[in-house]
Amino acid sequence: MAKIRYDAIVIGSGITGGWAAKELTERGLRVLMLERGRAVEHGRDYTTEHATPYNFKFRLLGDKLRYARDYGVQSSSTFFNEATEHFFVNDRLNPYSHDPQKPFTWIRGHQLGGRSLMWGRQSYRMAPLNFQENAQDGHGCDWPIRYEDLAPWYSHVEKFIGVSGSAIRHPMSPDGEFQPAMPMNIVERGFAERAAKLFADRPVTMSRLANLTQPLNGRAPCHYCQYCERGCSVGAYFSTQSGTLPAARATGRLTVATDSIVHSIIYDERKNRARGVRVIDANTKATREYEAKLVVLCASAFESVRILLNSATPRFPDGLANSSGTLGRYIMDHAASNLVTTQVDGPAVPNYSGGRPGPLHIPRFRNVHERRSDYVRGYQYNGAAFPLGWQRGMQAEGIGASFKHSLQRPGPWQLILVAQCEALPRAENHIRLDTHLKDAWGIPALHIDMTWGANEAAMGKEATATAVEMLEACGYKNVGVVPLPVVPGSAIHEMGGARMGKDPRTSVLNAFNQTHDIPNLFVTDGAAMSSSSSANPSLTYMALTARACAHAVEALKRRDI
């Protein structure tokens, strides 16, 4: 069969794959988007969207016995349940390995739209300092870009995806293009007001969310049903399906191939170019090849690295575009503090079926104007205040009519804080191909080797203590700490492995996410991250992708790649 040659192949259809497809097609390229999972049509395939617990056979508990067999890792995610299981990978078919003493939780979604369908939606810019700290403290390699390079692309992305949030003029949480923020509830307002009088450097503000509060491009504002991760047929939160995919399709230049697992990149050694990709059909296991002038990896941080590692050639025996030897190294996730919680006075409210889809946000305030001796970098807090629901009855004392009556209305309010901690890029944290384990399609599985370091431990400890101090200073009593044993990967912010850098000898990608080694090969997902900052990373991935694609198209026009 004659091979169809595209201008560009985008590998992956998640939050960056969608952006790559949109930017490249809108700039005139004919694009093939490859997705290893099934097709998911916006609206029609959100089959559980507003279903109530009693609509599910096991009332959202899910099929425990099947989960034990097929979803041993995925079912540990707070997003995974009987209403969302179809958006998560089958762990039995998609194995990975790790040392028993070094657990790693790898949460994945193999379908059109990837994890953009069930992501957390918090959208923060990295701050100018985040791009400088690698050079300042020597951890990781210097980012080849600075905040000013990415700022216009952050704006570009924010305007399109729709981010609700507040401008706060904080050095560690740069303002962007915001729709009005979602409101705080009365207890959260009280906390924010008390904190503002005591802690000028750490405003208690609403999370910046890729959930709309105003209509945008035919998408409706959020209706607070709370079930974002089941898919939203009115497009109130940004996903590939609600935003980038329709935009790319509207150009008439996009071809989407689902059930297409990329085995490896085809490399033309004579021209030193990526010529295309080898694909395995997910259903028939038949193989086929596609060719293009440009290949953009957006398969998710670890999957993109896995494809490069599995594309070794005589010239690149340790993985394609890996002349630096850093491919697979310096992987990161976000660590966490313990959960700090207190019971607070709050109003009597009815039982609601929904909820606000995002928490409070307190930007990073440590190691900004001062230098701590116990750790470098910093953390940001999430928080929330909410009344306890009927679930409290599962552990509370009481039986009979009075017990039932006590659960009829929401219980006491709870206020919680938890820190998201920056993790340092360290060479020993790495992924590599497992020499024995293969997935259901015969492709070598990943071996993940990652642990938290002393810096993350010290930061988490201090963040816990500071959260307690803040709540107590605000006048709250009986502040408690709940241990939060966070396994690496649990934040679902795994990143790094093909870091950006100025020096081809110590990094995989240049300032435009282009591999140093192969001019027409780009990696624009989380693999590119040179440091993690403490910010939820998806907005940065999208901005990097849009910027890289604009550069790639210009370079193609100039015949530079």
């Binding site: 425990k64 099947r66 707070t78 995002g358």
Partner: protein, 190 residues
Amino acid sequence: MQRREFLRRVSMACALAVAYRDGQAWAMDPGRGPIGASPGQSAALTEAQMSLVSALAEGILPATDTPGAIDAGVPSFIGLLFSEWFTPQEQLDFQRGLEQIDEQSRSLQRSTFVACPAQQQFAMLEQWDREAAVARQAHAAPTFFGRFKSLAVLAYYTSEVAQNEELKLQFGAGQDTPEGPVVMPPPFPI
């Protein structure tokens, strides 16, 4: 590790999903090995066992001016979990737990639990509930009754009857009220 305590606290404090999946006590016995499918799952509770399940559940969540556990279908949902959700070991434990209920009932009241008058049933439920609370406070293994009660609470409040007639759930989060939107846990991945 303090995983049990962590899950208990989180289920109380902030994680609806975790409460659904893990916070319910039944599957949280840390003494068990990995669970897996095996023959025997199609086993069903006997009629007598279902009667006891009904009596226990209705005693915990009785019909008042709103429907009780039986009206809400709690026994049949627990029966479904027994047949299709419990591991074989959990099935054995559950059946043994029901036997112990009747053994204790005979010892205390010289009658099976179902055959006891409502007042005697209530007294026994109160006693077992206190024992379950003591075990929780001591971070000891949950008692059978403690686990059963967790299941009954979950089965009741996730039922159509309880969601609509007992909790009277209102759509949305109260975002347009002076109190502002409630945040249904988990508000963010942790």
